[in-house]
C-alpha cells in the first residue's frame, strides 16, 4: 500500500513537473551578428542555441541582431533600449502565443534591404507587441515590411505604440494596432497600408503622410488620433480611405497632397486646410466625408 502511494505521489509530482512549459530565455551575445547562429545566443544555463517557438529572445542593450532572410521564431522578443533588431527582406519573425507576457520593444526594429531578396520582411504576432520607451519600428525607404496579428482565442493580437514612439516607413500593417504615438510614412512609393484588423488612436496619436508617402486605410480606424498630410519639397502625400471610419475624434490637417475618401469618413475633430485636395468618391453611393460634425 505504501509503495503504491509512493508511486502515485511520484507520478503526480513528476507529472506536474513534466507538464510545465520549459520555455527558455535566450540572450543575444555579440555586439552584432545574425539571429540564426546558435553560437550567438546563450540560454539561462549558458548553452548556445537559436530561440525556439516557446522561448524568450532578448536583444540586450547596445546589441544589434539581424534576421538575415531567414525564418526566426520566439514567444517573447524583447529588444532592449539602444539595441536594434534588423529584419531583412525575405526574413520572417514569428512571435508565438502561449504566454500572458507581451513582447516589449524599447529598442529599434528596422526592416532593411537584402540583396537578391524582394519579398518584404515580416513579423507575425501571435502575441501582443508593445513599443515603449525608445522603441520604434522603421522600414528603410523603399523596403516593405509586413506586420500581422494572428487571431488567438478569437481575439487578434495587438501591436501597441506608446506615446512618442513611432512606426515609420513602407508597411502593410495587418495587425490590430493601438497607436498612442506616431504612424508616419514618407518617401517615393512608400505606402503605409492599415489593413485587415481595426486600428485605434489615442489623443497623443498621429497618422502622418508626408512628402511622397501614402497612408492607405483598408481597415477601420477609430479614436482621437490626429491625421496629417504634409507636403514638402519632395512632393505631395496621399491619404486614401478605403474602409469606413466613422468613429473618429481627431482633427485632420491637410497641408498639401490628396485625401481620397472612397468609404465614409467622419471625425468630430475639425479640418485644418493649407492646400491640397479632398476627393469624395461618387461611387459607391452614400460615401461622405465629415469634419467637425456629429458622427453616426
Amino acid at each position: 500500500m505504501t509503495a503504491r502511494l509512493f508511486l502515485i505521489l511520484l507520478l503526480v509530482l513528476g507529472g506536474v513537473l513534466v507538464a510545465q512549459v520549459d520555455a527558455e530565455t535566450r540572450t543575444f551575445q555579440p555586439s552584432s551578428g545574425v539571429w540564426n547562429l546558435a553560437a550567438n545566443w546563450r540560454d539561462s544555463e549558458d548553452r548556445p542555441g537559436i530561440p525556439e517557438a516557446a522561448d524568450t529572445a532578448i536583444i540586450p542593450e547596445g546589441k544589434t541582431c539581424t534576421i538575415d532572410a531567414a525564418e526566426a521564431e520566439a514567444q517573447i522578443v524583447n529588444v532592449e533600449s539602444f539595441s536594434i533588431l534588423y529584419i531583412t527582406q525575405g526574413a520572417k519573425l514569428t512571435i508565438h502565443d502561449g504566454t500572458a507576457e507581451d513582447c516589449t520593444i524599447t529598442g529599434l526594429i528596422s526592416f532593411i534591404a537584402k540583396e537578391g531578396q524582394s519579398d518584404p520582411g515580416e513579423i507575425h504576432c501571435y502575441n501582443n507587441v508593445s513599443f515603449a520607451g525608445g522603441g520604434n519600428l522603421y522600414a528603410t525607404s523603399g523596403v516593405k515590411g509586413r506586420l500581422t496579428s494572428r487571431v488567438v482565442s478569437d481575439v487578434p493580437t495587438t501591436l501597441t505604440i506608446a506615446f512618442n514612439n513611432v512606426i515609420q516607413g513602407y508597411f502593410d500593417v495587418e495587425a490590430a494596432l493601438v497607436n498612442n504615438g506616431t504612424v508616419i510614412v514618407g518617401g517615393s512609393g512608400n505606402v503605409m497600408r492599415l489593413m485587415t484588423h481595426p486600428k485605434t488612436g489615442g489623443s497623443s496619436a498621429f497618422w502622418i503622410a508626408e512628402g511622397l508617402g501614402k497612408i492607405q486605410v483598408d481597415a477601420e480606424v477609430s479614436g482621437t488620433g490626429q491625421w496629417q498630410l504634409d507636403a514638402n519639397s519632395t512632393g505631395n502625400p496621399e491619404l486614401e480611405i478605403n474602409a469606413t471610419c466613422t468613429d473618429l475624434d481627431g482633427y485632420v490637417r491637410i497641408g498639401g497632397g490628396t485625401m481620397d475618401v472612397n468609404a465614409s469618413f467622419c471625425t468630430t475633430g475639425d479640418v485644418e486646410y493649407y492646400g491640397g485636395t479632398i476627393n469624395v468618391a461618387s461611387a459607391p453611393a452614400g460615401v461622405t466625408a465629415t469634419f467637425g460634425g456629429t458622427c453616426p
Binding site: L17, A39, E52, A53
Partner: protein, 386 residues
Amino acid sequence: MMARIASLWILAIVLPAFTAVTRAQIPPGYEIIRITDDPDHDFDATINDCGQIAWDKQLNNIFERSEIFLYDNGMTRRLTDDWIADWYPVINEEGVIAWDHRIHEYDSRIHLYEGGKITELFDGRNVALSDLGHVAFLRFAQPSCRGPAMNIFFYDGQGVQQVTPASGLAHQTPVLNAADELVWTQYDFCPNPWVSEILYQPEPDGETVQLTTGQQVPVSPKINNAGLVVWQATDYERGYQRYIQVWENGETRTVIFPGSGPELNDRGDIGFSSGAAWLYLDGEIIEIAYEDARTSMRDINNHREAVITINFEGVRDLAYMRRIRTGESDFDGDVDLDDAASLHDCLTGPGDFDRLCDCRFLDLDHDRDVDLGDFVLFQRNYTGAK
C-alpha cells in the same frame, strides 16, 4: 516484462524532476572546488582527462573582452589579451586548445594554443578539436534557399576540406571524437517553423548519416570515442520540454526527460542541465550542487570529473568537481602497491609542473608536483590491497 519496462520508462521521465526536489548529491570520492570567483562572467568551459579546464571569461562583461583562460591543477593562466572576442574554446587530451577569434560576424578565425604559443589557423568559427589536433569548424556560405547558409569544414593538419555540400542549409555545432568521427546540427531556416537534424559522418570523406527522424528541434550533438552520440530535442506536445536522446549502433532511445545540453564521456556518462547540473552515471541521476548557487553542466571527463557553472545572482563562475586525492591512482578501492608504483613513476621532485595529468591524483598536497611531501601523505593513506 513490458510492465517493468514501462515502470522504468516512467521513472526515467519522473526521476530527474523528482530528484530535483530532494537535496543535491556528490558522488562518493569527489569534491567540488570553486576555480573562479570574480564579477566577470565565465562561459563555455571544457575539461580534458588531465583535469585541464579551458573557458572564456567576459572581462567587465564586455563581449569584445571575452578572453581565453586555462586552469591546470590549481593554476589559472590567461591565454589571450585583446579587444577581440575569443570564445568557445575546446581542449583536447594533449592540452591543445582551439577557439573562435571573432573579429566581427563575418570575420572569425580559428586560433590554436599549443606548447605555449597561439597560432591562427584560418577563417572559421564554431570550432571542434580532436585529440589528433584535427579541427572541424564552419564558414558562412552563399545561400541557395534563404537565410544564412553555413558549411562544415575539416582540417587534418595538412589541408582543409569541405564536409557538407553547398545546399543552402546551415550546418552548425560540429563535434569531433578522437577517430575523427564527426557529428553536427543541420538547420533549415526555410520552412516555418525552421527544422533541424543531427548528422553523423563516421570518417572524413565518408557518407553522411542522418541520425534523427521526426524529432522536434534536435540540437547540440556530442560524440564520444566509442561512437555513442547524444543530443537534445524538444517535445512540443509536452510543454516544450527538452530531453536527451542517445544514438548507438543505429538505435535511438530517450534517456533523460527533461534535460538539456548533454555532455558525454567515453564511459557513456552524461552530464546535463535541468534547472541545475546533473550527472547520469550508470543509470543513476545525481544533482551536482555548490552552496546556494544555481548550477549548470559544462563538461565531464573520463574520470567523471565535471566542470559546472555556478551562478550567484547572475554572476557566472566556475566550479570543478574533482576526485578527492587519497593516494589512489587506479581507483580500484584501495591504496596499495599498484598505486605506489604509480607514485614512483609520477615523482617529479619539488617544483611547479603543468600537465601532471593522471599524476595529479598523486599530488596529494595540491602543490603542483609529486614529491616527498606527497609520499608522506601516501604512506599515511596506505591501506594495502583490498
